[in-house]
Symmetry: C3
Subunit: 287 residues, 3 copies
């Protein structure tokens, strides 16, 4: 008799850690599924910032073991009639409000195979008293715990075919070898992570320009292999650990030094757009 | 032979997470009670803010499974002669300095049945060297771990009959249908949580007024069912997830928009104080 | 058949908790070593601050159970040719970049017995794809997980005999009974922790002076037994929970009240340097 496997439940919220909201989720889960293991992805998504949450979830989920249940609560519409979704795929399950938070993850899951997408409606899975302000505690946590116990997700509610999807990668070709995206996340080090995906080698990115400000802040390419490839204090382009184009400053903060934050438009210029068919289209270079 | 249950130890402190203080508590507990499961409630209680700690503990504890050991270290008097208390009830055990932190919890526990309250004095339960500055590590963590192992709390020290209690809900009736309380917590979203408890439906709350400032900041009732019941950016009254009256701003921060923080007096006015006997007294409306 | 022991992996990084970096480490470890238990020491080391990391690690590690694997990722040189070290001693194992982070810990380990120090080079232990920006995920986490599974650290790479070591305790005798050190850490409460170690009783420390500012900020000794030994709001000297001399303010923040931060030089004066041979040398008083 082997000890049963411990399903993993990950938590991604905007609850912060100054409050006990996140801790209470752990408590509710422990009461229902004592052997489930709960991992905090982060509770510091910017308050009610669904786009950032979608980016962070997509960056993290692929590194979790098969069977993980990801609980994502960035939920400006809590208490309204917005749906809660359960997306179940062979590798992982996701619970999130139906506000676009799952946009990136659904793309990835659907590339792998069928996804069972349902509205979470069966109150038998919830806590007995459901508040109108804290569904994380009253709905998300108990539903995740019961999924961890092996309950059948098909009992949760009806299938959903029209989830809210965000336009998360609005990169636009502005001309040959010229594409516009934006900064989707500023990490703790002040690195600016964009929604642009450099080509496999990145050698073809000539420069990135932060475009909103009056002052031109252009960072020269190519995309470097490492922060250490430029001198201390210099800006650089690099492929972030999530595969997206990142604007950084070695040993410093690009956020502070380049005065750029989330939402800032970023233009990328390609060194030599002509030679290959791929490079001729923006989406070939930065997809 | 079933694997033995894992007792849960929750941690509520003002240690912050910039230091390793909280991590060290985990380490000490793991060394003594390797199978105990430790859940961080929060380590970001405002430094030495016993009142906020009492509020947060009371909000979280009911959501933890039976048998949980709650370790609460907000301890401005560390190293002085202040006592450390162990409160043991059928559903849960609490360790805290004797500074009023357990005020709310003791009320709740005593409503349920007898509570064994003791001074933590038996040095055999502590680490061998006890510092005068970090009892969390040297006293609280090892005592919690030994409780998790099943040691008998009655060996900890003598019974205590006079714990320090705070006056945490100083709501005062200022006139018919007019009661004064205060903001006891500002959460991450800027919601202002008061020490007033709306009636079961809340429909009788006409308005809440933040009273200290020269500028009148009055928020109209009734108590709403959901943030979504008002337009984006508008202030509202709602029952917080802890059952207390909360002043919020939909999609924004009441803390910033109304310039109000912890300790701010709040006046609540009742729509129609006459009709029922309950509404005639402040404590009937907001208890 | 007893359940196998759960090895503990502790994490000390400068990743912050706003990002999912730390959570991803948990995910990677859970995928490889599902029964390993992961404890967050802190993820809020000041960005790229190796000296602070060395101090915090040394303060925490002694409180973890035998066999703990400490993963330390404060790594300004990520992606460069800097080595990653594995230090294996009977009581604990440490993984860290070869940038001096292990300086204090190596001193302590070597006082206890032989330490096996290796360069982490064996790519079979890493994730299949190793980025140049996130070795925490791609190298440190999988290596720690495999160590937790019992893999032999000697397979990791060649022995290292010249680790980078920092000069972390540059206290200097400036005269009889006069020694200079510095503030190495400011904790959440604003306590200033120095690199000076008071004598066993501390009674011989007459005063500590913060020396850089034009304004003299001298805190009188002796080293107190407890914060409660001075009046509310008064500065004091105390032995921190890590055994180092700490400058504090009862019920307040020495950081704010004395306008002093990390790196600030601190002079310590000894009451009566003559009587004993130990007190005659700076290192005797503060070693």
């Amino acid at each position: 008799l082997l000890p049963e496997a411990q399903p993993i439940i990950s938590l991604l919220t905007d609850f912060g850690t100054r409050d006990v909201y996140a801790g209470v989720l752990h408590g509710v889960i422990a009461g229902i599924a004592p052997r489930a293991r709960v991992i905090d992805l982060t509770h510091e998504v910017a308050a009610q910032d669904v786009i950032e949450a979608a980016f962070l979830l997509d960056a993290a989920a692929p590194y979790f073991p098969e069977g993980t249940i990801h609980v994502c609560v960035v939920d400006p519409g809590v208490g309204s009639s917005r749906r809660i979704l359960c997306a179940r795929a062979p590798r992982a399950t996701f619970l999130a409000p139906d506000n676009g938070l799952l946009t990136r993850v659904l793309e990835r899951l659907r590339a792998d195979g069928p996804v069972d997408l349902r509205a979470v409606e069966n109150r038998a899975w919830f806590l007995a008293d459901v508040s109108s302000t804290f569904h994380g505690r009253d709905v998300f946590a108990p539903v995740a715990a019961r999924l961890a116990l092996g309950h059948d997700a098909r009992d949760l509610g009806p299938a959903v075919h029209d989830p809210v999807l965000l336009d998360l990668a609005p990169d636009r070709a502005l001309g040959p070898g010229h594409v516009r995206g934006e900064v989707v996340h500023v990490d703790r080090f002040g690195n600016l992570i964009t929604n642009l995906r450099p080509g496999r080698h990145g050698a073809d990115v000539r420069a990135a320009r932060l475009v909103t400000s009056e002052v031109t802040r252009e960072v020269e390419g190519p995309v470097r292999a490492s922060y250490a490839d430029v001198r201390e204090g210099a800006p650089l382009l690099i492929t972030s650990s999530t595969g997206l184009l990142e604007i950084a400053v070695r040993g410093g903060s690009a956020h502070e030094q380049l005065h750029a934050g989330r939402g800032e438009p970023v233009d990328v210029f390609v060194l030599d757009p002509a030679p290959t068919p791929r490079a001729a289209s923006a989406s070939g270079v930065c997809s």
